[in-house]
Assembly symmetry: C2
Homo-oligomer: 335 residues x 2
């Protein structure tokens, strides 16, 4: 059965203080004899500390709350994997919560996590939250009164944040299309306010401008970052002169592929295509799909690193990670 320090103390004929000191490897002045004896007893009886008691006494839980919009989305699940591996490496447990991309639920979950006594929070915000506008976002962010870091999103606030460089992503993708001779380039970015949607659009626009191309607002489309978003927008894009399309998420791209398949056509025969996220499935398609590759595992480990320092210091850190292009075969030179 569950053994307590008190019992070990009794067995060893010492006080609980001594046991605690020894079992926690404190630099205290305890004789080597006692040390080995106590440790031996603990080991033999297979002692495990009661973490609720430890948390209560130390007022810390060794647990980090991780809030994400959708655990099963490929991007988020890779991120979670990176985060939880890094956290576990540092001796922390992760309490992973699904906000279901709903800002009210998200707020509720964060509150519960705080009450639960987590030491800190890694917040991967929902699009639903960001769609509420900056004021709402800021109010929410400011209401979190324990150490936390905003992951995969930007904020003007002076808070800890680590994000991938979406501007660069938008720029690189667009530049590749331009380099291949395209001038009528459509973009399908996230809905108004959605996480990273504006930044990717800005990168796209800057690339066009830098190359002396005009920015045609009729080539800018918006949708949720999912299958359906792409499925619907591709139907409108066909009304435009676009020869190339930059989808700001691979899922959208797949949705477009599906739409074309349904009418027995091949999306890639009609357009040069570039996606975002570099989902593993991109190399399975024919042609293989060029996509903006985000280093998700780096995003996760940086987020943990930043939170870790936030746990013991007051200054805020703002990290922006580079992205690259994984060039494959879905972009063809326009002739």
């Amino acid at each position: 059965m569950k053994l307590t320090m008190r019992e070990i103390a009794k067995m060893a004929g010492v006080s609980v203080t001594t046991v605690s000191l020894v079992l926690n490897d404190k630099e205290a002045r305890i004789s080597q004899k006692q040390r080995t004896k106590i440790k031996e007893i603990a080991r033999k009886n297979n002692y495990v500390p009661n973490s609720s008691a430890v948390s209560l006494a130390k007022n810390e839980s060794n647990t980090i709350g991780v809030v994400v919009p959708n655990i099963s989305n490929p991007f988020y699940s890779s991120l979670i994997k990176a985060i939880s591996n890094e956290l576990s490496k540092r001796g922390y447990y992760s309490l992973i919560i699904n906000s279901n991309d709903n800002h009210e639920n998200e707020a509720k979950q964060v509150a519960k996590l705080v009450s639960r006594g987590v030491d800190g929070i890694l917040l991967v915000p929902s699009n639903d939250l960001y769609a509420q506008g900056t004021d709402k976002v800021n109010t929410f962010l400011n209401s979190i009164d324990i150490p936390f870091v905003l992951v995969n999103a930007d904020s003007d606030l002076d808070i800890n944040q680590v994000n991938l460089d979406s501007f660069e992503g938008g720029y690189l993708a667009t530049q590749l299309l331009i380099d291949n001779g395209h001038t009528d380039i459509a973009i399908v970015t996230g809905n108004k306010g959605f996480v990273n949607a504006e930044t990717r659009l800005l990168g796209y626009q800057k690339a066009l401008a830098d190359n002396g191309l005009t920015i045609d607002p009729n080539l800018v489309f918006r949708a949720p970052y999912d299958l359906n978003g792409g499925y619907e927008r591709i139907q409108q894009i066909q009304q435009t002169p676009a020869t190339a399309i930059f989808f700001c998420s691979d899922l959208m791209l797949y949705g477009a592929v599906k739409q074309f398949n349904e009418s027995k056509r091949n999306l890639f025969d009609h357009y040069s295509i570039i996606g975002y996220d570099d989902t593993f499935i991109n190399e399975i398609f024919n042609p293989t799909i060029t996509s903006v590759k985000q280093n998700v595992s780096q995003l996760g480990s940086e987020a943990v690193r930043v939170l870790y320092t936030a746990l013991s210091s007051k200054l805020t850190i703002n990290v922006k990670l580079d992205v690259t292009l994984n060039v494959r075969d879905s972009v063809k030179a326009l002739d």
Copy 2:
């Protein structure tokens, strides 16, 4: 700052007992007046209970450990989503741990979870564990001395387990192929011992036998359930007279598609294909891919339900969930 019951009690001019009773909505004999007054104070000051203290006092943590082989694998991430949503619905937190498909790490993580004081464990075992053989598996399973349920795998032991019916999956898939006139049907199942690998194979064999077809051992292939597994096996399958292939995971199937694409051929032109898991991407391919559909969210919620009853009772439950076939276009009649 953090408010405690003691402070609320002081503000309300009552005892902590009363506060506790009220805030926990106990059926106790407290006047309605006090009730509203106390609740009001708590609400206004935004009181949240300290869960470490609650856990310590009640000797339960309201958290469940969930161990999975790979958080970012589409199948597991859907399962995690279902589990954690269901758990949260029942007021539990989930401590999700990645075993990285390594049985030693898996054992270590389970031990940590126990010491952490979780109320129970949902174990989705690694293939690496099952590949060690039944004895090792049983020893490990028997060593877990808190309520737990084995998820997505079978065991001869008298323990709680909930799994999808892999025999049925194998049978249905094979029957569909047979119904379409195929007699030389290759199967790529998991490696020896891998979770559900034998059962799917048995379903395949039974379907062949039931239809009076001979079971050709040369058409049985084994591989890890991943991209590479399919990529490699498809090269060997081409040496056989097979006209149809049953991949026991969609990932394997994608690997085979990739192999064909690389040599400018289309897998679906050469074979009737059926996969397993019904990953969302299957409807994006051309042709869309037929696959064995497992009701993952049901698997998750059943697992939670079983664990929930296990928390308060001693009898063990063994649940097997039906699977269905999601018939699309990748299986063609042989003429």
